[in-house]
Structure formats: C-alpha cells, structure tokens
C-alpha cells in the first residue's frame, strides 16, 4: 500500500523507515555507485532528510519498504539548486506549484508494479495539492522506466553520456497521467484515493457547534 509520511512522523513507522534507508544505501551506494554517505547502520541518509520532507513509500505486506521517493517544495532548499544547477544553466527553478522529487528508490524485494505504484503516489501528491509540476534529477536507466509508465519528464538539461547520463526534468501533473498509472499499477481509483485521504485527512469529520 502507499504511505505518505512526513519526515517528522517517520519514527512511528520504524520498520518502514529503517528498511527504506537501508534500501536506499543498497540502491544508490552499492548498486549505482553514487557518491552518497552510508552510516554505520548501513543506511543512506542526507541533509535533505533533515528538512522534514514528504516521503511517498510503497509498504510491503510485511510492513517493510518496497519503494520510495521524497518531496520538498522548490521554494526552499533543493538538490536541483544546490547540486545540479549547471543542468538548468545556472538558473534556479523555484515555484510554489513545483515540488522537487528525489531518491526514487525501488527495493530489490519489490515486484514489478511498484515503480508504477510509486509514480501514482507522486501523481496523487501533485493533484491532491494543486501542483503544476514535479522537478527531479534522474539517470539514464530511469528514462526507459518513465517512458514505459507513460509519464516521461520534459528534460531541461543533461550531462554525461550513455549509462552515466544525468538529466534534470519536469513532470507535468494531470488527470490523464493518474488514470494511466492506476492501470499500470493495477490499483483502483477508490483505493488510491483512500490511501491518500488516510494520510492527509481525518475522515470522520466532527461538526462541532451544531
């Protein structure tokens, strides 16, 4: 199931949290060889995790991490501005309607549909909060995945060649993308809505004062 959890609320989901940071170490450090810090517990965390981001996490039936990504508003600090500014020709992208999405991670234990489910979570965030775009940095291997899922980003700039190619892109939020991802992920409209509402809404609305 999809979980939407703010950084400050992660302690309430220990297994999910710990397996997420461990899976991130496996993916970004061990498998992709990125220059990321892995702590003594074998977890990959960075300074942006300290900014109380919003995580979209696919939770496996046993309560562990199946995949995740991390959102922060571009009106604040972003990796695009602080590490990849050259990919946007030195121009900072900052808008209340654009959030940055980073650390797109899929667990080795996860099934094939998880990337679609995660992207669906991203689409729900955009639609649910009235956003126009997501901003993100991605590597060559992701291009195929985004295309296959029917939600390729608009590329703003790239560097490197072949497998080492890194790009900065914008994803446009929209209803049709959500429909497509629901189909790809094999998740019904109602269920996805329910997951989102569970995270951001107290469904039992109490009407005080009459």
């Amino acid at each position: 199931m999809l979980r939407y959890i703010h950084g400050r609320d992660l302690p309430a989901y220990r297994k999910l949290r710990d397996t997420m940071f461990a899976d991130r170490a496996r993916q970004f450090h061990a498998r992709l060889g990125w220059d990321v810090a892995v702590n003594e517990r074998g977890e990959e965390r960075d300074q942006y995790d300290d900014l109380d981001p919003l995580y979209v996490i696919w939770e496996m039936p046993d309560g562990s991490h199946g995949g995740s990504m991390r959102f922060l508003p571009t009106t604040g600090r972003t990796m695009a501005a602080e590490h990849f500014l050259h990919l946007s020709q030195g121009r900072r992208i900052s808008s209340p309607l654009i959030w940055e999405c980073t650390r797109f991670c899929i667990s080795e234990r996860a099934g094939a549909d998880v990337s679609a489910a995660l992207m669906l979570g991203g689409a729900e965030v955009g639609l649910g909060f009235g956003l126009s775009h997501a901003l993100g940095v991605f590597d060559a291997r992701m291009v195929r995945i985004y295309r296959r899922l029917g939600w390729p980003p608009m590329v703003l700039g790239s560097e490197g060649q072949g497998h080492d190619r890194t790009s900065l892109g914008l994803w446009t939020f929209g209803r049709s993308v959500r429909e497509r991802l629901l189909l790809r992920a094999g998740i019904s409209d109602e269920i996805s809505r329910q997951w989102f509402m569970r995270a951001f809404g107290h469904l039992e609305l109490v009407r005080a004062a009459g």
């Binding site: 922060l72 508003p73 009106t75 703003l156 005080a208």
Partner: protein, 237 residues
C-alpha cells in the same frame, strides 16, 4: 478581463507598507469569493505578524486565550508545506470542538482552506481562506481556486518579508504585458490554441511572444519559462 493571478499580483504590487497589506487582503477576499482571509507569519525568533478579516474581538480573545495551542489549523499546518482543507484536520479533541464552536459564534466560517509556507531561515506562514457554505460547494470552490490560493499565499508572504526588509529585490528583465498574458494562460493550464484564442491572436503570434518571453527569462522551453515566470512573479512584486 484580468485573470485572478494578475489581480493578485496587482494587489501585492500596490502594497508599499504592512498597513497597505491589510487593504489588499480585503480585495483578495472578494477575489476568492470568501468571507474571511488570514495571513499569519511567525519568524524564526518567534515574532508574529498577521493581516486578517476576522472580527477584532475574536482576534484579541484568541490571542489572550492562547488558542494557538489548541487550534487544529495551527497544530495541523505548522511547518508543513502542503495545502490543507480544514475538514482534514483533527477536530475530535473536546477542546478543539469547543474552540470551533466559539469561533463560529464569533463569525468564523465552517469551511476553511489553509496554505502553509516554509519561508527563509525558519520563517513560517499560514494563509487561510474561510467561508460558510455546504461541503459540496466548498469542494468545488477550493478545487477551482487552489492554485491561485497557493500562489497568493506565496506572493503575500514574499511581499510581507520584503516590506519587513527580510529579502532583497532581484533584478529582472521586464516582460511585455502580452508576454505576461501568454505565460499566465499557459501557467493556468491552457493549451497554446486555447491561450491564443483567449487573447484573440494567432498561434503563430503566440509562439513569437512565447519565444521572446522564454529568451528574457533565459528558459530552455515553455514549461521552464512558465516555471521561471512564476518564480519571478514572486520577485517582481
């Protein structure tokens, strides 16, 4: 006719003091077609500033009673960054229900929508529209207005910080009114054809405006130009 976004920008441009902001939010209240509007900022050092349309008696009572400690809007939105419909907040605690009852007696509407903003250096602000209507109408209303509310929230915050001397103006290459029109419509989700139609110009002409705006903004393509323009809208104020 002016788009809502343009009106918001105009309103904010006209404010040259914090007192002016109070005037401008009255205009925004009409623009958003709601009964009340609140902008509340808390700096890193705890200094507070607010412009709002609630009854003064309610505001002083709220402050004197330290209601920020039980107000679900404050508790639910503090330091977050996603917009929140009041229905999604936790009104279950007894104190929260009593508080809501009192608020309603004092003219606060039952429906609310708040946009939290994380500003620079730990500053935090909350922009709220408040109204009285049934749930269905409110859902339609917020659905229609959500993007403009988010933008208004950030524009007001930017303006308030600017007036307090917290941020410096950044130099921008001014765009022509037509260029602004084109980008505004595209930002609102219009297709090129729809945008051209709305402005009574050909798509060819629209592309020329777009290209020139893109150049001025140093943007790589249309989406990037829209993103840049939104950003600079914040700075142009």
């Amino acid at each position: 006719m002016q788009s809502r976004l343009e009106t918001i920008i105009d309103c904010m441009t006209q404010a040259s003091s914090l007192d002016d902001l109070q005037e401008e939010i009255l205009k925004l209240r009409n623009l958003f077609e709601v009964e009340h509007l609140v902008y509340h900022s808390v700096s890193n050092s705890g200094e507070q500033y607010a412009v709002l349309t609630y009854r003064p008696e309610w505001v002083s009572h709220y402050i004197a009673s330290k209601y920020e400690r039980i107000d679900p809007v404050v508790l639910g939105c503090y330091k977050r960054f996603h917009p929140v419909d009041w229905k999604r907040l936790d009104w279950k605690p007894k104190a929260a229900r009593a508080f809501l009852g009192e608020a309603i007696e004092n003219g606060v509407g039952r429906q609310g929508f708040s946009v939290p903003i994380r500003g620079p250096q730990g500053q935090f602000a909350l922009f709220t529209v408040n109204h009285n209507c049934d749930d269905e109408s409110w859902e339609r209303h917020t659905g229609e207005f959500v993007r403009d509310m988010i933008l208004a929230a950030h524009y007001i915050n930017q303006k308030a910080l600017e007036l307090e001397g917290a941020v410096a103006d950044a130099p921008v290459r001014p765009m022509s009114p037509r260029e602004t029109d084109v980008l505004t419509l595209l930002a609102l989700g219009y297709s090129r054809a729809q945008a051209a139609d709305s402005l009574s110009i050909s798509e060819h002409t629209l592309r020329a405006y777009l290209e020139s705006a893109r150049n001025k903004l140093g943007a790589l393509n249309t989406t990037h130009a829209v993103a840049r323009a939104l950003t600079q809208g914040l700075l142009v104020l």
